[in-house]
Point group: D4
């Protein structure tokens, strides 16, 4: 990954979001999609954010992923400064359990779209997979990896079902 | 109002917010506080918004009011670009009935405060009154007007109570 | 549009969703992106849906947009049957005002991503724009159109601001 | 149970749902209703799910129970592929505390019913009891067991009330 | 229908619920399932409700459907007095838009299950269909009708899709 | 009613609440319980409110009913100034549909109870009935009227059920 | 308390509600109001509940308090069977955090009032205090105790404020 | 701070709110803004609260901050008794996770504004910063400190981003 120019840029509003956003990174690494990941806030470092976003396209970035909690403006602010597709990951960071971040991301007004994923870990993983799906429309090798990934998930479900049979036996149910 | 330099700047994300945000303006006019009011969007015109906000203080603006609906980032984006106090008015513009705008405004992360008012008309009027209260801490004349305003409200309540007695009589209840 | 092979497929769960989903179509037409639009339900015509989705890629479709209300499974069911990126538009079709559709779309479990837009009209328009952004990463002409579209929006905001000045004059506020 | 053909099929979207869904199984075992329980996901293994559901009726299954969390499409997808009655158990698996699963299950559009139970453990137990009630309409022995079950619950309440009297005495309240 | 003993009993808390609950009745009539429908309130006529429920089974009723709004206790109260399966239809009758009725119905504690359908019209129709599905497990003729009903729905979706093509042509989109 | 000293005092925050709060008054009149009704706001006329509340007990008032919308502080403020029982009626006066008023009334901290009724009309009527129930514990005549009132409701339900039979016949369902 | 006939009856739906409902009991004991407390469920022991409620008035009970969680029907079912005033305490017993119990209690339809308190401990304490306020309207001694209770609370607040000064000193803030 | 007359008064409804409200105090201290902090309840000590608020202005207080949980009336009650600007901090003190306090504060009716911050810690810190912003409009030294504070935050974000790079290296992602 290190010697290839990143095509996905991951932003998070705070380093406390790392444990969630690293899941996007892991997925991208798994699919061998070069990426970079930085902390930049819509509110605390608006200029840093703008500067990063405005230079992204010319540095070869094709997709941006933004994770944030609370009044999560990061994805919207990023989407307003670029023509690149922006994926949003709402993070459960307040007593509102991520509902605040979800609505602040998904309810974008007409004109500036933000592709919102689920709150938290599942959303972060899916942000990586969605980026892979986008890139795969022009990359048959990546598409194959996605198909393999899907097949592996299906195999995993069957294994989990076998484990459930064992648990049922342990619990005297079968 | 026209010949005095504005001290309050009102921003709204769309001209469809006018009917709500004009209530702030009416209150400011009633208190003879010079103001200006423009449409500028956090997402559709980020540069216009930044330019307006960055020049506001040096043009004599002391308070900013931002009204927006949906994923209402306007107030937060404004507050990130100025040291002036920013008042937010969430607007009911989607099927979420303003809950989206409320959470996107009030749940600002630590560091960048936004003073959020009620959703809609009441919030817009209160944004104007809150601006007046801020300015009144250094303006005894304005403070007197606020006291008179409060007294008038109290008188209004008594009149409304009289009207209720009449209605009760009409309804055969007394 | 008619003589080009569609690259975006729009699905809606019911023809009562037409008035919302046509906004995606209008945006795609505006950007000269060939598309097709059908009614197919996750629940009432599961086989029709699967058949459509499974053949989509080989017919040249690169992006799928799915709009649905209530327990809106359409986007998730579609995303489970293809490696193409799927955009979801939650529709306000019940007394829950689209919150049911939003959560049924955005809260997809890890593994099967769905890119969720805002509830209703804004979301449908943004689904079209997001599709355009995706395609623009490999299409400089389309990217230019998106930039023009953004500039037009910005000009529109300035015009709306002018109109607000007129309204304020009419209302005796300036 | 092992030597009788199962009449109830329990599906869960993930083996992490086992601790909830095993409560359905325990109830069925208690009422001596033969059942089977597998993991199958609407999204990760759509074909496995369809295959299971389509064969269920001919293998003698009369009732299906589906437990899932997040954007819980499992019950709806199952109900779309069979004429058998489908019971849904929403599971608290995200920061939305099961509200997402509840709405994704209960808000099914007209035509494809899903009988939704409470979120979590109570719902899982009730799914088992509801299955028993359905079967009991044609099985007087089972109906008797249900009446006994109800009587036992009533006795249990009286015992709990006695325990409360002891606690009150311990707390010096009586 | 009149000369057959009813097998489904429909209760509604108030005659203002008629327009919703009649949809259950229409479905049952369509499937030629004999039914009866009465108004009885959990709170205003508790004795009438108990008397009705307690006699239902011996009069040949196999399934009860209860529709109610607000703090909708009807289904739970009914389910506590019978071993018959009880289907609940939450009705949007207050400013809470049916969320109150939904939670008051679906969140039944362990021991007394209530099979909850969607809020309002869709839920009422589905209550009828779910009753038909239950009865069809022992009635191959009814099962055939359900399959036909499903096929008709599928055909209806295709027709709706055709209509959408016409609308698109009218709108100049194709 | 006019020549008897009122025993119930009804307060409302604004005369726009009259149409809701008059329902409490009608119930009290129906039960021949003398009452008075005024407009007084917790925020606009705090002194008027305190003065009214503090004098209420000595003028013979035994129960206070407070109806308010939005951030409905009236009932709590009243309950803090008297030892009389206070009944609260949350009113749907904002885009939050009365949820704001409900939570602002019902979630009173330990020490200062407020007896909250349903949002809106039903709550207002029930406030009157609850006042009657309180007074009836020391007034056998009033208790008889309440029993008659309950019986009349039950009769009304039976009549409504008859009307439903007629409607069913009209609709060709029986 | 033991040798006086109880005037308040406390019901709870399950002994797991004891830790919440004992707070009502402690308050009543503190005010020397004789009470009794039992477990009885609207659903698991409907007959026990009815029997208890119907006999309550003739045994001298003047007020009923009902605490329950989930689809909390207990208070409504009780209020339908007596003319006594019924106080409801919603309990946080599910993943819905008491919102289900709150709506199932407070949203009672017109005709059958239930006086709802806050969710959980605060609500349980306030149920006891509200009962005391009701009884105090006819009991000057009890009214004095309530006034003393209020004064003690006020003194407690001042003490807490002193403690806060100490904490501020400890934290180097003053 | 000790030898200067306080210009900000912080009120909290209970000493259990100290851990949240001390964050406002710390911010004020950091900006060398003299303040005082007391416990006073809208409900338990209404007179203490009124007395404090009414004397605040004449003692030199320019801004009031009120933190409270549950049915959080404190800020509204305070704002009704003074012309000073009042900032509200909703506190997560019940099972409603601060939503009750938020709505009870932010939804103030027109006429009596309350400037609401985020729920909990972030809101408390922002209350202090917002007070500083208000005072800075007339205090260039304070404005400079705010600018420095903002710059420090920005530097902090860059450092956090560096730390994220280290974590990524540790996790084998770069």
């Amino acid at each position: 990954m290190s010697d290839k120019k990143p095509v996905v840029g991951i932003l998070m509003g705070s380093d406390s979001d790392y444990d969630i956003m690293v899941e996007s990174a892991k997925i991208l690494k798994q699919f061998e999609i070069p990426f970079e990941m930085i902390v930049s806030s819509a509110h605390r470092t608006p200029e840093r954010t703008l500067k990063y976003v405005r230079s992204a396209r010319d540095r070869g970035i094709k997709i941006l992923i933004a994770g944030a909690g609370a009044a999560a403006h990061l994805a919207g602010v990023v989407a307003a400064e670029t023509m690149l597709p922006v994926i949003a990951v709402p993070i459960d960071a307040t007593s509102m359990r991520g509902l605040d971040a979800l609505l602040a991301m998904v309810q974008m007004p007409a004109g500036i779209p933000v592709a919102t994923m689920a709150i938290g870990l599942a959303g972060s993983r899916n942000a990586g997979i969605f980026a892979a799906r986008m890139l795969a429309t022009a990359d048959p090798e990546l598409e194959k990896k996605l198909l393999q990934f899907k097949q592996d998930m299906a195999v995993g479900v069957v294994k989990k079902s076998d484990r459930v049979q064992e648990k049922m036996a342990d619990d005297g149910l079968i």
